[in-house]
Symmetry: C2
Subunit: 211 residues, 2 copies
DNA sequence: TCCTGTGAAACGGTTCACAGCC
DNA sequence: GGCTGTGAACCGTTTCACAGGA
């Protein structure tokens, strides 16, 4: 197992896992790197290289056992446990995330929702009651939360991130359009929807221009 | 100008543009690659390399002119025009996207919203009325839409994408967890929130393990 | 034979370092 | 002196090609 696994490898593992789950549902018990590549949008060689970074899970001449490989991937991705997530920001994005059924299905439990708007505080969302953003530290400690989702305005993001980290959060999914400054040991994943659209419009613009 | 601009370059250009806009608001008229790197979370050399792929916009010994460079970046990213976007899927994610003020601010106009749920069809969202997903082709043609945002279940995504492309859509922002098969000339940007969380939880898991 | 696992080669993107212009 | 623009070196990732086990 090498020193450092790249981010793109991890994203591809997620794809493979999804492919395996599909295959499992359709009754297949074995899968080749070719099939996984097909569904994961990559190449067979890439699939084998990716997997080889974590061990030898296949059988030569035969392929991979769907159930086994799935379990290995889940273990690698850290999906064998449940993650306690605190959502900060009960706006539009926050509510969409909260209601997203796949999160729960995949092992992420939104244990609390916070917002700084006094009008929202106290409101119930399903089984959780929105609490004040000022209680962030208490909430994180109470629930021994692992991850926080930052769905707050850009100006507020850095401050919230710092407080969350100080209170024990171990990772941040950041929807705010700012580069967060946090300690090395706290992974941050950024999602910026406008940026995705900009990348798309650039690509569309390029298509016209010869080449 | 080289053959192919990488995706990461484009994402960084978005960052630089944001940094420039901030600088403009704060009254600065000039910016060095160092400043842009600082705000964009990268290095000065990277900034210069990125920009050099499109031309020479700076002055040696002086830096870049904030307004000029901003305009160049907007032109490169295709933000000097407005984009007509059709949103397919009026669920949670769809509604969050629809209400996202930055989209409009950045040049993306959501000209129509579609859903396959008869209960939703006819409902008004601000100034648009939700139309039936079966009208996709008509809607795209009526509005001469450029882009579609796919916020539909994974099973429906491929079919909708094909219909949209046939009707003239030129790019797709895909929130469904499937790899879309579309013609080479149609750029697709994928956003998969569960995958982002999985990348995050993997990273968190790694932090513990020595290194 | 079939398909995996893996060194080696090829590729592409990032960093370095400095020439050149303000 | 300061800071850009850029070839060259570097480094990580992807692709190739094949040895080796089922």
């Amino acid at each position: 197992m090498p020193r450092r696994i790249s981010d793109s490898t991890i994203r591809r593992l997620s794809h493979y896992l999804r492919a395996l789950e599909e295959l499992e549902r359709s009754g297949s018990t074995t899968a080749s790197s070719d099939e996984l590549a097909e569904r994961g949008g990559t190449t067979a060689a890439q699939v084998r290289k990716d997997l080889s970074q974590f061990g030898s899970f296949g059988k030569r001449g035969l392929g991979y056992h769907v159930g086994d490989l799935g379990a290995r991937l889940r273990a690698i991705l850290g999906l064998e446990r449940r993650w306690r997530v605190v959502l900060v920001g009960a706006g539009r994005i926050g509510s969409a995330l909260f209601a997203y059924p796949n999160f729960t299905r995949r092992g992420y439990d939104c244990v609390a929702v916070l917002d700084s708007d006094p009008l929202k505080v106290g409101t119930r969302w399903g089984s959780v009651t929105i609490r004040s953003a000022s209680e962030l530290e208490d909430v994180i400690r109470e629930h021994a939360a692992d991850l926080i989702i930052l769905a707050v305005p850009a100006e507020a993001a850095q401050r919230v991130a710092e407080r969350a980290v100080a209170a024990g959060a171990r990772g941040i999914l950041n929807f705010a359009a700012v580069k967060l400054r946090v300690p090395e040991a706290i992974p941050v994943t950024n999602v910026n929807l406008v940026m995705e659209l900009e990348a798309l419009s650039f690509a569309v613009t390029q298509v016209g221009k010869g080449a």
